[in-house]
């Protein structure tokens, strides 16, 4: 073994370190975890969960503010935010789009039949490809798009009454979404 080979570990480390620096830089710039904030929502072409013959593209989400909610039946937190989503669907005129993420369609349909369907559209993302495009860390995640398809807000984790009141409702109002008061009612007593 030549003397030079003892420098290999140092070289590898410098490489990893610069990667860490770049990642850190990116993290600071994008204020993780919101890589897509103020950027257009990615283009996609996905099948509808309840009608696999029909496909949906990004253009069909444009025209009015849209909430894109990533969910799955294997995700207990999705179940716990479900009630809040139902309230949002009932009391606002925002377009609510579900992305059924890495899930089995038959399970997902059963879930919606059982607990109610708050979504205007549910996209089938069983292999998680759309999730990759969207930079999904895990379910649930919710994106708020304006009428032009720009991502204005992203929430990693559940939409609970507190998040709804403090973060989501004001942004929806700012985008001109009509909200009736009942949507703000605390679901704490209901559960």
């Amino acid at each position: 073994m030549s003397r030079a080979s003892f420098y290999i570990p140092l070289g590898v480390f410098v490489l990893i370190l610069s990667l860490g620096y770049v990642g850190f830089d990116l993290g600071a710039r994008n204020d993780l975890p919101s890589a897509l904030i103020d950027k257009p929502f990615p283009n996609f072409n996905a099948r509808l969960l309840d009608d696999p013959e029909q496909t949906v593209t990004r253009e069909q989400l444009l025209g009015r503010p849209t909430l894109v909610n990533v969910w799955a039946t294997w995700c207990p937190t999705c179940l716990s935010e479900h009630e809040q989503l139902m309230l949002i669907a009932a009391n606002t005129d925002v377009q609510l789009v579900g992305v059924n993420y890495k899930d089995r369609p038959e399970k997902a349909l059963q879930w919606l039949a059982q607990f109610g369907n708050p979504y205007d559209l549910v996209l089938d993302d069983r292999d998680g490809l759309l999730g990759i495009e969207m930079g999904v860390y895990g379910a649930p995640e919710t994106f708020l798009l304006d009428a032009n398809g720009q991502v204005v807000y992203k929430r990693v984790g559940d939409i609970n009454p507190r998040i709804w009141r403090a973060e989501l409702a004001p942004r929806l109002k700012a985008l001109g979404v009509a909200i009736t008061d009942t949507a703000e009612q605390d679901s704490k007593d209901a559960s």
Binding site: V14, I16, L19, G20, L26, A35, Q114, I132
Partner: protein, 644 residues
């Protein structure tokens, strides 16, 4: 007043760390300075302890004028969670890290008489330098003693309910003991490089410390996995989450180090490699801290993002790891030794072990950092998940098991071919039994049967050799420890293989008095009762399980915490050595019905029992006669002559 005292004590510990580092590295051969370093090590530990106790006190008396306490605690918390909330957040957990660092340093200095004084002083100097970095990090970027004055809140925000659990009380201290413990072999490697002395004696010194740190790390990781299993309510026990990976990477490096040290101790070879592993293992501890605390990667259990902290750790990492690797590059080349060995020798199989572990390490590192690299290069995002890791870890794990089975009969240097007969016989038996498992678990995959067969093979060869040695009356603690650790690895693999393929999971809707079948058991839902905890109200489901003659009740809960309004699912688990029955409550449905998640998890306990057995084996090996004898011996006069 008390928090200020804590802050002051931490600053004093920092000042003593400066002294310890300067004296330890500048004048390791002067007896006066040696004693100075020794007392400064005790001082660092003492003042860290005072700082830590001050913070615990602030929690105990609900002093919400301290920002960290206000964020992490609440008057309603039971007292034991108030105490454990001390290390429930970033700032306090780092203070715990410093206290544990001090404890390791004191442990080392209490043993310092068994090493040449200049070597021990260099090690303590290096450790002080590291500790200085930690203390500065705490003081300047994450001070737990900052006050909220005059805006003192009347009530605290509460500890995350996920962390209100026995697992959290013990998981971080154990894990940190492992992380920080790796600083000792690291410092010993640095000291050895500084002295230009890396030999079998050095390896022997290192082994006890490495084994202890490794055992703590093993326990810490196993405990974290167990906690995730019963607390997160998903029924999984490993998620390849960046934070889990952050603890797994130093573990892989430390495991390789444990083995490589054995070669260096027994045969005087692999020297540079061993030193490199000692540096690597601790570097990954620091990298783990960077990943968890900087927000580079988000995860379920990462701490609050703060760019300043991330930058500090990155610079610290660059100095510590870059500095030690530069030292390695400059000095390690002087220590090459040519020691021959054949293919069928213990050395070669240790090499296989090390290669597999290092490849595993590279896979985890890649899986953890690739998303960053991809984003840096293309601006897009990728997610690397379980399939990626499984694709590598299944074959790597099986390969490791396959190589391990040969170990008991292998000699150092060379092995006669005749002794392998018993290994082949064991392979035959294991193969037949594995085949039976395959039929029994039909339609399980061939890989599962293969894993079981390989594990059995390992058990047979290790059992046979242990039996032979026992009959001859020579089972040293180190040998027994090694055997236990290897048996633990084999059992753990069986647990992983079986539980990931044979578990039954069903999510169903149940009305009171209805029943369902789960893996041959009957599960009857007897309705919901309301219960009150100290700081939450819960709906408790009553599930009667009928398993042949056995009947018992499982009580999963849905908790609503008063302070934060968080809802938590508390799964109910009937643990068993051979299978767990796991029930958790989903959401209430219309009428009295509930969504219920019921799992049957065979051999899931073996995963953690295997890990515990490994850790126990590692500790047992420390009590081998040859290390105990070394501790008793006074090294001073003759050791001087060996050094450069």
């Amino acid at each position: 007043m008390i928090p200020e005292l804590g802050n002051f004590a931490l600053a004093l510990a920092g000042a003593l760390a400066v002294g310890g580092a300067v004296l330890g590295l500048y004048g390791p051969r002067q007896p006066v300075l040696q004693h100075g370093v020794l007392s400064m090590v005790f001082g660092q530990w003492g003042f860290s302890l005072i700082a830590f106790v001050a913070l615990v006190y602030a929690f105990a008396v609900d002093d919400f004028s301290v920002a960290y306490v206000a964020n992490q605690s609440n008057t309603l918390l039971p007292w034991y969670y108030k105490i454990s909330a001390t290390w429930g957040g970033h700032e306090g957990s780092f203070l715990l890290w410093i206290l544990i660092m001090g404890t390791w340093m004191v442990a080392f200095s209490l043993r310092s008489s068994q090493f040449p004084p200049h070597f021990a002083t260099r090690v303590m100097g290096t450790l002080s330098l590291l500790n200085l970095g930690f203390i500065c990090f705490a003081l300047f970027t994450s001070n737990p003693f900052l006050r909220l004055i005059p805006l003192t809140p009347a009530e605290g925000a509460d500890l995350n309910p996920l962390l209100q659990d026995f697992g959290l009380i013990v998981h971080p201290p154990l894990l940190y003991a492992g992380y920080v413990g790796l600083a000792v072999p690291f410092a010993m490697a640095v000291a050895a490089l500084l002295e230009g002395r890396i030999d079998a004696t050095w390896a022997r010194w290192c082994r006890t410390w490495t084994n202890m740190a490794w055992a703590f790390l093993t326990c810490g990781i196993a405990l974290g996995s167990w906690w995730a299993y019963y607390e997160l309510g998903w029924g999984g026990w490993w998620f390849w989450d960046p934070v889990e990976n952050a603890s797994f990477m130093p573990w892989l490096a430390a495991t390789a180090l444990v083995h490589s040290l054995s070669v260096t101790e027994n045969r005087g070879t692999f020297k540079s490699w061993t030193v490199l592993l000692a540096i690597t293992a601790f570097s990954f501890s620091l990298l783990g801290a960077f990943i968890v605390r900087s927000g580079v990667l988000t995860s379920v259990h990462s701490f609050a993002v703060d760019p300043e902290r991330g930058m500090y750790i990155l610079i610290f990492l660059a100095l510590v790891v870059g500095g030690s690797l530069a030292l390695y590059a400059a000095r390690a080349g002087q220590n090459t030794a040519k020691v021959g060995y054949e293919l069928l020798s213990r050395e070669f199989f240790m090499l296989i072990n090390n290669v597999i572990l290092v490849v595993s390490l590279a896979v985890v590192l890649w899986g953890t950092l690739a998303p960053i690299g991809y984003e840096a290069l293309s601006g897009g995002r990728i997610s690397i998940g379980t399939p990626f890791f499984n694709a590598f870890f299944v074959p790597l794990g099986l390969l490791l098991l396959g190589a391990l089975a040969w170990l008991p009969v292998l000699n150092w240097k060379r092995t006669r071919v005749e002794v392998f007969t018993s290994v082949y016989q064991a392979l035959g038996i294991a193969g037949v039994l594995g085949g039976l498992v395959w039929f029994a678990l039909d339609p399980a995959s061939l890989l599962v049967a293969g894993a079981v067969a390989l594990a059995l093979w390992v058990l047979l060869t290790h059992g046979r050799q242990l039996w032979l040695r026992w009959r001859k009356g020579s089972v040293p603690a180190a040998y027994l420890g090694m055997t236990l650790a290897h048996v633990g690895f084999a059992l753990g693999t069986v647990g992983i293989a079986i539980t990931s393929t044979q578990s039954v999971e069903s999510d169903v809707r149940m009305t009171p008095q209805s029943s369902m079948e789960l893996a041959g058991k009957q599960l009857i839902f007897n309705g919901i009762v309301e219960v009150q905890g100290p700081n939450y109200a819960a709906k408790q489901g009553l599930f009667e399980v009928i398993d042949g003659e056995r009947r018992y009740t499982l009580r999963p809960e849905k908790r609503q915490y008063f302070a934060g309004g968080n809802t938590m699912t508390e799964a109910a688990i009937a643990p068993g050595l051979f299978a767990d029955t796991y029930v958790s409550l989903g959401e209430p449905l219309e009428g009295d019905a509930w969504a219920v998640r019921a799992h049957y998890k065979p051999l899931v306990r073996w995963v953690w029992l295997g890990a515990l057995l490994m850790a126990f084996g590692g500790v047992l090996a420390v009590f081998d006669k040859r290390y105990v004898r070394q501790r008793r011996r006074l090294q001073a006069p003759n050791a001087e002559s060996v050094t450069a």
